[in-house]
């Protein structure tokens, strides 16, 4: 039975070449949530980092810096869980094809943002980040609804709340611009 569960975990979590010695395993959905959230987080951090030198709105610069720092800390927590469970930090490239792949902003978006300055940059970053954090809310609600590990679900709940609040702030910034 133990072997069956292990094999099942392999099947469900994307059959990665995980360390065969690992005994502790996270729930497959928790693992997938974390493996999908991590690159999403990193891309978000990459985009908000552009605000420092480009944004015109001071409130946006402040929010962007706080998003960058809080998401970096969250990413460390998520990495810690995956590592302790002997899971890879990212799923093998083809393992999510059945899941439609990652919800991710267009990588070209970073290039588009990089080319902008001032009010134009602000508007584009706000719209892109609203979309990006809206995707994060979706993933978080998936984990809180269908995940298993209470700590992971707790983080997902904070992601849901904080991203929802950020979207509210960003919509206000857009309205005022």
């Amino acid at each position: 039975m133990r072997f069956f569960l292990l094999a099942l975990a392999f099947v469900v979590s994307g059959c990665a070449a995980t360390q065969p010695d690992a005994v502790l395993r996270g729930d497959p959905l928790d693992v997938m949530f974390l493996q999908m959230m991590l690159p999403h987080h990193q891309q978000g951090v990459e985009m908000v980092a552009l605000a420092r030198d480009r944004a015109q709105n001071e409130e946006l610069r402040m929010l962007a810096a706080a998003i960058a720092q809080t998401q970096a800390t969250e990413a460390e927590t998520m990495k810690g869980w995956l590592t302790s469970w002997g899971e890879p930090l990212t799923a093998p490239p083809d393992s999510h094809t059945g899941h439609g792949g990652m919800r991710q902003s267009d990588p070209e978006e970073v290039a588009r943002l990089t080319a902008l300055r001032g009010a134009e940059f602000d508007q584009r970053l706000l719209n892109v980040m609203i979309a990006h954090q809206d995707d994060a809310v979706q993933m978080a609600r998936w984990e809180t609804g269908s995940g298993a590990n209470p700590e992971v679900k707790d983080l997902a709940d904070r992601i849901d709340k904080s991203r929802t609040a950020q979207i509210g702030m960003m919509k206000k910034f857009l309205d005022r611009a």
């Binding site: 402040m62 706080a66 059945g98 439609g100 792949g101």
Partner: protein
């Protein structure tokens, strides 16, 4: 992995195999898709080009909510819907599935590009870039007398037909029996995945029956929301942490009886409570 699976399955009793068959597909597969004919709003604007929309409606949608929605045209979905569509999506936001990312799709306009249709049989096509088996597809049309310049509410939708237990391919056709209508209407669809995921997809396709009410001129009244002045509340020293307050580096707060000092200037929000955000707060 294949060897492992085979080995594992070989060692299973028949009853356990049934359990596996049930459990394995619960992998949270994320499907993707939207209506391609009549084209949904998101499909129309995606085809016009997110950066270069042609129609006034798509231009307005991009202006209202940015371009990202149209790159991710196949994800107007709720991952944890599980059939609770009416509970999760508020009236007026049916086209965006209540998601801010897709808010441009909810614009109340009489000039969304629309397919000319007639009452009677209509073949519709769903474009699923990641089709998944075991899905239910529900189709609706707006009630007689509905106008595209009004918000779309759940009570505006009249059920046409539901196709259960569908195994869609990349392009799947169904024939709907369209009731009598005049003027502009919306064909609304819900794709609810049944096995392996709670995810559901939502589409708004504009159609035009001709005749009926004259299309009202598009009054582009850009309603400016009232300017909300942000009052940067200076926190009293030693005050209780409160969402909505803007904190500067060095500000001190109490949260659940514990004192914290602000490490990075920010406006506090729910989900960023001091114990959970060491990047923002240092415990004293």
């Amino acid at each position: 992995m294949k060897t492992r699976t085979r080995l594992a399955l070989a060692s299973l009793s028949a009853t356990t195999a049934v359990v596996v068959a049930f459990i394995v597909p619960t992998t949270p597969a994320i499907a993707h898709g939207t209506m391609s004919d009549p084209a949904s709003r998101v499909y129309t604007c995606k085809n016009e080009g997110p950066e270069t929309p042609k129609s006034d409606a798509c231009k307005a949608a991009v202006a209202a909510g940015g371009t990202q929605a149209y790159y991710d045209w196949n994800e107007v979905s709720l991952l944890e819907a599980g059939g609770r569509h009416r509970q999760l999506i508020p009236d007026g936001k049916l086209c965006s599935a209540g998601r801010d990312k897709y808010r441009g799709l909810d614009l109340q306009r009489a000039d969304w590009p629309a397919k000319r249709v007639s009452p009677g049989p209509l073949t519709v096509t769903y474009h699923a870039s990641a089709p998944h088996s075991n899905s239910n597809f529900e189709f609706y049309i707006t009630r007689d007398g509905w106008s595209p310049t009004q918000p779309l509410r759940w009570s505006d939708l009249v059920h046409i037909q539901t196709f259960n237990g569908q195994n869609p391919s990349t392009f799947t056709n169904w024939t709907l029996n369209i009731p009598n209508r005049s003027g502009r209407h919306i064909i609304y669809s819900i794709w609810q995945r049944v096995v392996g995921s709670n995810e559901a997809f939502y589409t708004c396709s504009d159609v035009d029956f001709g005749g009926g009410t004259t299309t009202p001129p598009t009054t582009t009244t850009t309603t400016r929301p009232p300017v909300t002045t942000t009052t940067t509340t200076q926190p009293p020293v030693g005050g209780t942490w409160a969402a909505g307050t803007t904190y500067s580096v060095g500000n001190r707060v109490t949260y659940n009886g514990v004192n914290y000092e602000c490490q990075l200037a920010h406006t506090a929000i729910s989900g960023w409570e001091p114990p959970a955000t060491p990047a923002l707060w240092r415990r004293l």
